[in-house]
């Protein structure tokens, strides 16, 4: 028998295979299953969801968790680590600094006229770096400057310079600082009192400002003279 005949015979046999029939109780069994599955479905929706033995522990746990959460959250305050709090920036401090910057620019111009070109460059550099460092140092340095300007004590500039040299000064500036002699200040210690200190720096009278400028100029001149003297020294 060749393949074609085998194929034909096979197809015939497949077609003539005895038909399998469903059992007699197929429908009744099916309806019973459908009804039971419907009941299961209803049970799963209502009874399973609201069966007390199953839900009570979970509901109690959930309710207690919610209550605890709200109680704890209601009383909680955001506690900041004081070591990590950044200092507050004060607008009045910025104002005084901008005034100082203006005066520093004037001083640089004056120094350019007075000193030698090499010294000019060094001095300009140091003054600029000091100005930048002052900004970086923030409120701490600025408050010192405020104190100085308020009371007419310009020598505090040297104090701020000292602070800045610790952080970011170049070698040239450090050399200068070694030779730096603090300017003598003609201030009567009796004048310094708590009452006279104006921490807020809200209002400087024109007279006070002029005094500050004069004292600054005087100290800068003296510094320049000291530098010249030190240059002349072998």
């Amino acid at each position: 028998m060749n393949d074609e005949n085998i194929n034909k015979k096979l197809l015939e046999d497949l077609k003539n295979l005895p038909k399998v029939e469903a059992p007699k109780n197929f429908e009744t069994e099916l309806l019973r299953k459908i009804n039971s599955s419907d009941k299961d479905k209803k049970k799963s929706l209502w009874e399973n969801l609201f069966t007390p033995p199953k839900l009570v522990p979970a509901a109690v746990a959930l309710a207690s968790a919610i209550i605890v959460f709200f109680i704890v959250d209601g009383n909680s305050e955001v506690i900041e680590d004081p070591l990590n709090i950044e200092p507050r920036l004060r607008e009045n401090v910025f104002i005084t600094e901008t005034m100082d910057d203006v005066s520093l620019q004037n001083e640089i111009v004056e120094l350019n006229k007075e000193t030698k070109p090499e010294q000019k460059a060094i001095r300009q550099k140091s003054v600029k770096e000091n100005a930048n460092d002052k900004q970086d140092e923030g409120v701490k340095v600025k408050t010192h400057e405020m104190l100085g300007t308020d009371r007419g004590i310009i020598s505090n500039e040297s104090f701020s310079e000292k602070i800045t040299t610790d952080s970011n000064q170049s070698d040239e500036v450090r050399k200068m600082d070694e030779n730096f002699v603090p300017a003598p200040v003609n201030v009567n210690p009796e004048e310094i009192s708590k009452k006279n200190l104006n921490f807020m720096q809200r209002s400087l009278s024109t007279q006070e400002k002029q005094e500050v400028q004069q004292l600054k100029k005087a100290t800068i001149k003296k510094e320049a003279e000291n530098e010249q003297k030190s240059d002349k020294m072998p």
Partner: protein, 194 residues
């Protein structure tokens, strides 16, 4: 009234059942499709009890998810698809179970070929015996080929219907049928030798 219902097509019955929920309509559908489905699933699984369960599950799904039927498809295609999916799942479950039960007595990673006396040439080949042999041969071919061969050569469905039921291209249906037939010939060559 009942006569009128029996005159309705399968699609009309299921659409009416969707809208009215009349269980009489569902019973008519069951009476129309229970035997073809039993035949189809039995030839696929080779086990009568499992086949009855699968067909009952099929009708339960039709009853429960009747609203999922869309009038775009033929009802017969839809119900054959459901039955085919359930039969495939049942077949894979049974195969896993048989595989582990046989392997537990033998060597690891080695399956046993169960000796089949029916393939011996001296076995009497009357129609009853022949049908048993064919059924066993059917169970030996790949399930994808078997499904296609049963739907085409036993259930006598069209290629288009088989394509929809198996959710594959018509070309694939044809190739699966041909390969299935070829495998069947290989297994049944002894009874067609003379």
């Amino acid at each position: 009234m009942e006569r009128n219902l029996n005159d309705l097509t399968d699609e009309e019955l299921i659409l009416e059942f969707q809208s009215s929920g009349n269980e009489k309509l569902f019973e008519i559908l069951v009476s129309r499709f229970k035997n073809p489905l039993i035949n189809y699933v039995y030839r696929f699984l080779g086990d009568y009890d499992s086949c009855v369960d699968v067909v009952q599950d099929t009708f339960i799904k039709v009853y429960r998810y009747k609203d999922n039927y869309s009038s775009l498809a033929k009802f017969s295609t839809w119900i054959y698809t459901i039955a085919g999916n359930l039969a495939r799942t049942e077949y894979q479950r049974k195969r896993r179970r048989n595989f582990f039960s046989i392997n537990s007595y033998g060597e690891e990673k080695k399956t046993f070929d169960i000796p089949d006396e029916a393939y011996r040439p001296d076995v009497q080949t009357d129609m009853k015996m022949k049908s048993e042999i064919i059924q066993k041969a059917l169970l030996k071919i790949r399930d994808t080929y078997r499904e296609a061969v049963i739907l085409r050569d036993i259930q006598e469905l069209s290629y288009e219907e088989i394509s929809e039921i198996m959710q594959i291209e018509i070309g694939t249906v044809k190739s699966r049928i041909n390969r299935g037939r070829a495998e069947l010939q290989k297994y049944l060559k002894d009874i067609y030798k003379d």
